[in-house]
């Protein structure tokens, strides 16, 4: 089946299988920053923004995304144009293997879009569905708080 969606600001027409989930569709089209993890919506590695809200793309059928706007990690920044949130994760050394990082960065984007001055508790709650097995959970929370400052600074 054909689906039409806006991916990182670009209109796309993709051919998808009925049973294909959004994670697979994105990765099949080269957007491999979105990781395949638990396939159950529990680990956060596959997080993307769907119409501005963070969702686990592993539980969203590609067909369900037809007509919607998707933002992946590639839509936020790249090595030459690093997003302030990505810069904050690097600065806080909140990245080791990097597998879970795109999901955490996307989640932070949505958090800061709705709450530009989050508390540590807000950051913890937001990252509760994002599992990291090498960096741990402390540094990503510090990175979220630093990212809030950087995003605020970038806007002023």
């Amino acid at each position: 089946m054909k689906i039409h969606l806006l991916v990182n600001g670009e209109p796309r027409e993709w051919e998808c299988e009925v049973h294909e989930f959004l994670t697979e569709a994105l990765r099949r089209h080269g957007l491999v920053g979105t990781k395949r993890g638990c396939e159950d919506g529990a680990c956060g590695a596959c997080a993307v923004l769907l119409d501005g809200r963070e969702v686990p793309s592993c539980i969203v059928l590609a067909a369900q995304a037809d007509g919607h706007e998707i933002t992946t990690i590639e839509g936020l920044g790249d090595p030459r144009h690093v997003h302030p949130i990505q810069a904050a994760f690097v600065a806080a050394t909140a990245v080791q293997c990097g597998f879970c990082t795109p999901g955490m960065v996307v989640a932070t984007k949505e958090l800061l879009d709705h709450n530009p001055t989050p508390s540590a508790a807000d950051a913890r709650r937001r990252l509760a569905g994002h599992y990291c097995r090498c960096t741990g959970q402390i540094k990503p929370i510090q990175a979220v708080l630093d990212a809030a400052e950087r995003v605020k600074g970038a806007q002023t």
Binding site: H19, E39, D40, E54, V55, I59, L61, A128, G129
Partner: protein, 285 residues
């Protein structure tokens, strides 16, 4: 990956949706947020009927109560202006407790009611609030609307099979509600959940002991009657009297996560705290 779907559709009306549900290939399922789609047991599922075009997402105050479209997400329920304040605290707390924020952005109240998973906080909140469901069914080719009490137990839930849940109605009159739960971590399934609500002098208490299916969701009618009898003024020894009543009517359901006696005692403690909360009392005991 458990799915072997052959067909996806996105109907524009409730009638089209219900007709599609009965067409081959079968089995078919209604699809809301999809948080319980890719799970064991759905290997045979061949068709999904996506409800998103029906836009059942209103959350509005209505004659003192609140009407919540079945497509409203758990995140929207936490943020809706019509659900802020003491009467609907149990509902907000239940929505915030489910899984993680990304899942709350997808999971809908209608979907959560429709699935028969035991690991849920919403059912006791809805039962305590006296929620009613607006549902649609196709009977002899004709679409029929029904408004039913929130179904408690597996037998009562039979009415939901083949039906589309359109909205949840929270009636007027509740002045305070509270939900207390315990899970091992913030994102784990709860070991037990209890909700309490107060409408004037009447008190409702509902518990979910997380037994299999929906069988262990129940109103604790004897304990409700006891607290209601106190007419909003809790006597000095209310905690011991209520605990005795609660333990007498809670089933000891044990599994790999918690033993039966522990879970029963835990549920009684959670109920005491919820009852304290709706009476403005300190939550001890």
């Amino acid at each position: 990956m458990y799915l072997a779907l052959e067909d996806y559709s996105r109907p524009q009306s409730i009638e089209a949706c219900l007709r599609l549900l009965q067409q081959p290939p079968q089995p078919a399922a209604l699809l809301a947020g999809g948080t319980d789609l890719n799970v064991r047991g759905h290997e045979e599922l061949r068709r999904v009927i996506d409800l998103q075009a029906l836009a059942m997402t209103e959350i509005e105050a209505l004659e003192g109560g609140v009407r919540i479209g079945a497509g409203s997400t758990l995140r929207e329920i936490q943020e809706a202006p019509a659900l802020q304040g003491a009467p609907h605290a149990a509902l907000r707390e239940a929505a915030a407790a489910f899984a993680n924020v990304a899942i709350q952005n997808r999971s809908t109240i209608g979907g959560r009611i429709a699935v028969e998973r035991p690991d849920q906080d919403l059912p006791p909140a809805l039962a305590a609030l006296g929620a009613r469901l607006q549902i649609y069914r196709l009977i002899n080719g004709v679409v029929e609307e029904q408004v039913i009490d929130y179904p408690l137990g597996d037998a009562a839930r039979a009415v939901l099979r083949g039906a589309l849940i359109r909205a949840v109605e929270i009636p007027a009159g509740v002045t305070r509600s509270a939900l207390r739960r315990l899970g091992r971590t913030a994102v784990d399934r709860p070991l037990a959940t209890v909700a309490a609500a107060r409408a004037g002098e009447q008190v409702r208490i509902a518990a979910n002991l997380q037994g299999p299916g929906a069988a262990d969701l129940r109103r604790l009618s004897r304990s409700e009657a006891l607290v209601t009898e106190w007419r909003g003024r809790l006597p000095e020894n209310w905690r011991s009297r209520l605990r005795e009543s609660l333990l007498a009517e809670l089933n000891p359901y044990g599994d790999a996560f918690a033993g039966g006696e522990y879970r029963r005692d835990l549920s009684a403690t959670l109920a005491l705290r919820a009852v304290a909360a709706i009476h403005g009392e300190e939550e001890t005991g």
